[in-house]
Subunit: 377 residues, 2 copies
């Protein structure tokens, strides 16, 4: 039986560490990026995080077109071929879900229960949005640009297409793309085939997939995903602050090998190079600090150049893991605007923007029952 009788609306607060059946349905559908995939500068297809609000729509590219309409001089209808025939740009862009880290909050807001790995970096290929809008011609008084997806469903009791808006200034930024390829391949269905929006630096809800229409408006867009959802608010009824750009975050590849169930890590006594990636949508990453004692002491990690201004930077740190025992490894990013990851959760009603530092428990020393067969090589 479907356990629908236990359904609670998204945003309900849960005062227990256990996950509700509704949250599980979302967790098995959507997926984060396994942390060992931080090893790849470009996340291989299939490992990038995915959050799909409703269902993945089935779109026929042959009959697809994208409407550009509303407060413009010349409405456009762009087929996939039209978009591909325009100048192409490829950008490596890091995307992260605004709800990343939600499931670590207490009480926990009921929604997709991310632990902290809802991220990925892909090479997105498409054409710049600004010249498309210029061709359509923004009328005087144009204020926002509304991006509507083909995905539809019910959220907050409201039947809706998924849609979000940007100010004209944000929408016409040079690196905003209408994208039709990822990592050199046509978009797969789950990433927005045939065309999606990419707005580097912004949290995941911005990059509308399965684009159906782009509508220029002369008033603020008040759709559900814009006006009701995706706000940082700590008191019910408060207007809150809209979620926009990604706060800084660093993640590490958990060292050693895992226990299947608990994911506790085991490392042989040795000197380890711990590595990971760090990003911020507010400013370039300037510093990453590493701790092997739960955040009591920190040392600066080494930093590599970012792949692109829109993507994460690799960091690495040496960890003297020669003494058996239990350790809590932490990593903390700082960006060039002085934004630093907090050590404590920043609790809010929707569970957005929780960029508290990652903590990974590692046991130095072999687990009991070591039975690895003699190496065949």
């Amino acid at each position: 039986m479907e356990r629908v009788s236990q359904s609670k609306p998204a945003g309900t607060l849960i005062h227990a560490p256990e996950i509700t059946p509704d949250e599980l349905q979302l967790a098995v559908r959507n997926h984060s990026m396994p942390l060992e995939a931080l090893r790849y500068p470009i996340t291989p297809l299939g490992l990038h995080y995915l959050l799909i609000h409703f269902d993945i729509p089935l779109v026929d590219a042959a009959t697809y077109w994208l409407a550009v309409a509303g407060h413009v001089d010349k409405p456009l209808r762009l087929t996939l071929e039209d978009l591909k025939s325009r100048p192409a740009t490829t950008l490596a862009v890091t995307l992260e879900c605004a709800g990343n880290g939600r499931a670590r909050l207490s009480p926990r807001p009921l929604s997709q229960p991310w632990l902290g790995e809802a991220v990925g970096t892909a090479e997105w290929t498409g054409t710049r949005l600004a010249p498309v809008l210029q061709e359509a011609g923004l009328k005087k008084g144009a204020l926002e640009v509304v991006f509507t997806g083909l995905d539809r469903g019910v959220q907050g009791g409201i039947e809706q297409f998924y849609e979000r808006s940007l100010s004209v200034a944000d929408a016409t930024h040079d690196d905003v793309l209408l994208v039709y390829a990822i990592n050199g391949q046509a978009l797969p269905p789950q990433h927005g085939f045939p065309v999606r929006l990419i707005v580097p630096g912004w949290y995941g809800m911005t990059h509308v997939k399965w684009l159906r229409s782009i509508t220029v408006t002369d008033r603020p867009f008040d759709g559900y995903q814009q006006a009701a959802a995706y706000h940082y608010r700590t008191v019910e009824g408060d207007r809150g602050v809209p979620v926009t750009r990604m706060l800084p975050r660093a993640l590490m590849v958990p060292p050693g090998e895992p226990d299947f169930m608990s994911r506790t890590r085991f490392v042989e006594p040795s000197t380890q190079i711990v590595e990971g990636r760090a990003w911020s949508g507010l400013a370039p990453i300037e510093r990453v600090d590493f701790s092997s004692d739960g955040g009591r002491s920190w040392s600066a990690a080494g930093l590599e150049e970012a792949l692109s201004p829109q993507s994460w930077r690799r960091w690495s740190a040496r960890w003297d893991a020669t003494r058996p025992g239990e350790y809590e490894l932490c990593v903390r990013a700082t960006d060039a605007s002085g934004n630093v990851q907090p050590l404590e959760q920043s609790w809010n009603l929707e569970g957005v923007q929780n960029n508290a530092v990652q903590r990974v428990r590692v046991v130095v020393g072999a687990p009991d029952g070591r039975q690895i067969a003699a190496d065949l090589r």
Copy 2:
């Protein structure tokens, strides 16, 4: 903080519908196939289900080789190029996790909490295993073939490489492949790059990824994943029955559109064509039945030819959804050996082989608050 203090070993029984923090860690790492992807005969890359016991290993194809050793006349070392230079075969194969449906059992065995969508069908390209074993030359007394992955970790308190065995008869079946490509592309890391095993008809634990070695033995293999895990047993301490081939299952694309949180479906009053796929590892699918009243009455669905003998068949059924109200849709597969999906769960300690019929709750009639914008097209 990692919630490791609440860790319980895999296989513990949980007497509550809520999911433990450990199960959540597995659920956000691994992922099922969103049911709307049943529309595709071949599952697009990134939508196929994934269960990774330990971590995804990072393998350098340039220095990779696969050992074929043990009870053979001539041990082999095969590079990726060696394998690619052998005769290539492509097969469309349906894979399903043995634990699919585990999270619907009560009490629930603690492990990866699948609801029912841990499936996928891919076109796997590789070379047949039988000629490789023939070239190595099985010595007299050869009994089993052990497949060892490069992935390692701790399970059941035992540190291990992931490994499973097959009898010589099963391993030398004509359609057993050493695979290096999926859907026409090199295997991505999460599917076993550079080389994995594919054994059509068998549950997912059989298709060892990141193959490190193939070892012919003259005695039964008693590794953890073979002798302890993957058994159907209802009483602790019983030896149980090894899990082998996939029991029949049919799944449907849930019709209509979902509520974000509860995944309850809404359908406009109309006549609907409900569709899905059905498979069995025991015999070809012979019949699929559909019910719109929770399994009280059934009618035969239409069946298309299977893509290949190793893959699922598409089915479809007409549903008269003209009267508003709540419905429970069910679908049930029967194979040519007379195996039928049960209506009730088949409870067991590991939560394997739960192929009870799928049940999807659908509300006919628009949800409250309908606010879909006028269609722009």
